[in-house]
Amino acid sequence: MSIFYFIAFLSILFAVLVISAKNPVHSILYLVLTFFTFTIQYILLNAQFVAIVNFIVYMGAILVLFLYTLMLINLNKNSEPMKTNLVKIAAVLGGGCLLVVVVAALKATGASDPVLFKDPNLGLVKNLGKVLFDEFLLPFEISSLLLLSAMVGAVLLATKDTKTA
Amino acid sequence: MESLSNKRKVLESKPLNLWERIYLPAVVKGLSITLKHFLFKKDVTVRYPEQKREFSENFRGMHSLKRDEEGRERCTACGLCALSCPAEAITMIAAERKPGEENLYREEKYAAVYEINMLRCIFCGLCEEACPKEAIYLDGDIVPADYLRKDFIYGKDKLVEAPLNQ
């Protein structure tokens, strides 16, 4: 349990650093560390597959792409968009609303019972696969459709229009 | 446009066919060629300091100051070599031959100090051509490497030929 608290503390610390870091590249790197702590949490839960997929997909691919684009954009201090007062007020309002919702939700549910696994090996590949392709087949397939449509959309955006070009 | 020499060849570059486009056959062919070199071809390296390639006849290496048939230094410190040197590599200090030194120096005037800066020298051989006394020839070896700049200034100790009967 103490490991959990330590790692959780690290996650939050790095997450705070993500938004407080001045340099966007640094903040991405903190985000990488945050995701790394998530991976450790998954391992603690004995969810090896999710852990490693989180590792590969989020840390290894998505954040690399983030970093990639950030490096290409020239983010100097003076090119940072002007923050007008209106934007600031809107941000405060938005953040406040979120806080209210979160607090309300916490109050409504109260402290949840610790989650107990029926099967501690649920996170291993075999079991996970069985559950995914059995009980949760429909949501699984639907999410794959979602990804497919996103992919087709990306291809469409990227292809040149043969008529105009 | 019509080419004047009529030597121009028009090369057709056809699009690659499927066999060429899968690359792998070409890759395998290339690999087999390099493997042949790896296995069968002998190396052509000359292992330099131990083994030397023969120099050509007109190779210009390190200078040597010659002696005549009686073993006397031929150089008379006329300075023509220094004058002709495009790299200004040669300096010398002349001295008068004392009585009793006739067996050492052929002319009445000789070079007491004769230095060539081998870092400046471009081994053009103009000094050799300029010399009226046939005193300097670039018939030596390659000038060896060294660590300090001062060690590249060759004095008479290194340049003058060894005395005759020794």
Binding site: V32, I52, V64, L65, Y68 | L31, H37
Partner: protein
Amino acid sequence: METGELIVRLVLIVVIFLISLVIAMYSTYAERKIAAFFQDRVGPNRAGPAGILQPLADGAKMFLKEEIIPTNSSKFLFIVGPSLAIMTACIGSAVIPWGQQIQIGSKLYDLQVTDINVGLLYIFGVVSLGVYGIMIGGWASNNKYSLLGAIRAASQNISYEIAMGLSIIALLMVTNTLSLKEIAAQQHGWHWNILRQPFGFILFIVCAFAETNRTPFDLPECETELVGGYHTEYSSMKLGFYLFAEYINMFVSGAVMATLYWGSYNYPGMDWVAGHTGPVIAPLIGTVVLFAKIFLFIFFFMWVRWTIPRFRYDQLMDLGWKGLIPLAIANIIGTGLWITFFK
């Protein structure tokens, strides 16, 4: 885990770590020698007999050279880059089974640091992490060539990771497990996976070349265009780390390919050998066989390097996205059909 096993593991970790370092060291030597032989030269032959001490001399040189950190670099990340590169290169070998179980006393011990049941994915994760070392180093140098090298490395790695993953999926359909230990054990004798997945292997090895940034895919450090690529600004041992990481990566990917496709420690006639030599020697012979396979792969890496010229960047991307990925998907479908109809 009781003490005996713990000790064996610790010893194994240290030994594997040392072995990868030594192999990386001597890969640099082998690379130069092999390059020389391919080009009808002799290669390094001064330090020790036949130049055998050359890596030590190189190492000493690297350590003693002046360390230069560019003024406008971000210093911390500049140091993190090479450290990360070499760390990710080293931890990849943790899940590779180096041999069969070996009998010491009356107990059987695994010749594997750890057998996690998603071992294959673990290797993937480590490989995908490897690009961070390059990216961070390239960005932190604050040099346009480094940055371009880093960006090339990133996009290249991501693109080829996909094709690599897809080619592995086909392998998984055949093996039914993600654990490298089981995959190795399945290929007993001559039942090597290369016989079942020859096409997948070709895809995999092409991707492995790209992932290790070796020629013909070494565009991140393409010196004709990018000076030194991502390590332009690096000097001394930090440069050494980057170069070292490349060789360790080569070693690990050789080990992965040997394990996944070329039968790991298995060889035809191993049962006969095991019957004649007993439970201590036989696994060791298997380990030797595995290492022989790895060395062959390393040789192959070098062989290709000194044969094939570099791709152009758009050709690289074309090959990855329009060539390898569709082929890998076709391979998955083909494997699926084969499994449904012939098994």
